[in-house]
């Protein structure tokens, strides 16, 4: 008398096992990454997957925060890179001697001396900055040289 229910039971069990195996194959990488073990108990499966999804959401939030940090860092970096490049370009011309440099966010203040043989000043800056040049002194030296002192303030436009 018990044979038909048992047969049904066995058959359904077989179907369940097959489905679970198929799921294990199809979603192997997520299941392995979060060590979720699918069993024949469908309610427990749902619970485990929910738990894994919660963990994953935490990880996602973490990554988002990290990426935001990195982006902030890179923005800051890019900003001061432009100012540093401008400084290096300015001092690549020979005969300029740095006296004082102060960089704060968006502003670069430079005080430097220049020894040059030309009578007029030649200071070129990139058009990305608004520049404020104050010549503190300009003094002729022997043998046709000039000694000048500049104060330059660069601001991001």
């Amino acid at each position: 008398m018990c044979l038909p229910p048992l047969a049904f039971h066995t058959y359904f069990r077989f179907l369940k096992a097959q489905t679970v195996e198929e799921f294990k194959m199809r979603y192997a990488d997520v299941l392995r990454a979060f060590s979720v073990n699918l069993s024949l108990d469908s309610r427990k499966n749902l619970q485990e997957v929910d738990k894994a999804i919660k963990i994953f959401q935490e990880q996602l939030k973490d990554l988002r925060r990290k990426i935001e940090n990195l982006n902030n860092f890179l923005t800051l970096r890019k900003e001061n890179e432009e100012f540093l490049e401008e400084t290096v370009r300015l001092f690549s011309v020979g005969g300029r001697y740095l006296n004082y440099l102060k960089y704060t966010k968006g502003t670069l203040e430079l005080i430097f001396y220049e020894v040059s043989s030309s009578a007029e000043e030649e200071l070129n800056f990139s058009p990305a900055f608004s520049v404020e040049v104050v010549k503190e002194f300009d003094q002729p030296l022997p043998q046709g040289f000039y000694l000048r002192k500049y104060k330059v303030v660069l601001r991001r436009r």
Binding site: M1, P4, P5, F8, H9, F12, L15, K16, T19, F23, R26, Y27, D29, V30, A33, S42, R43, N45, L46, V49, D50, A52, I53, F56, Q59, L60, L63, K66, I67, N69, L70, F73, L74, L76, R77, N80, E81, L84, E85, T87, V88, F91, Y97, L98, N99, Y100, L101, K102, Y103, T104, K105, I111, Y113
Partner: protein, 137 residues
């Protein structure tokens, strides 16, 4: 005591039907519906996870590329360096990608390094102040 034969047949048939339709079939139906829900969840989960791995990979590549650049030998805060070191500092800060400056101050106001007397007075010191942010993992 005799068992009513008719009753026994009826009873066993009903029990059988109750077992099949009352326990086994509902159990399987619940399994099927739960499995359908599970499949939807896993599909979303899997695609989201793949995207996550992709973005994480990108993030790690960028951080690794930044970390491979050479470091600046000065830490944050105030330090005193020689003129030669101060000259190369700006170039170094430019070449490394590990540091994003918040503030930088190079103070050489204490004097122009000219040695009139011919004595070696030691290389003049330049005060450097760095406030920076370092890349974090």
């Amino acid at each position: 005591m005799t068992i009513n034969r008719k009753f026994a047949v009826w009873f066993s048939t009903l029990l059988l039907l109750a077992l099949i339709f009352g326990l086994i079939v509902p159990d399987f139906l619940i399994f099927l519906s739960n499995t359908r829900k599970l499949e939807g969840k896993l599909q979303n989960f899997q695609s989201a996870y793949r995207l996550y791995l992709l973005r994480k990979g990108e993030y790690e590549t960028i951080v690794r590329a930044i970390k491979e650049t050479q470091d600046v030998p000065y830490g944050e805060g105030v330090s005193t360096v020689s003129v030669e070191e101060a000259e190369s500092l700006v170039a170094q800060l430019l070449s490394t990608k590990k540091i994003a400056l918040r503030e930088l101050e190079i103070n050489n106001k204490s004097g122009i390094p000219v040695n009139f007397l011919g004595f070696d007075l030691g290389s003049p010191r330049v005060v450097v102040r760095i406030v920076a942010e370092r890349v974090r993992e």
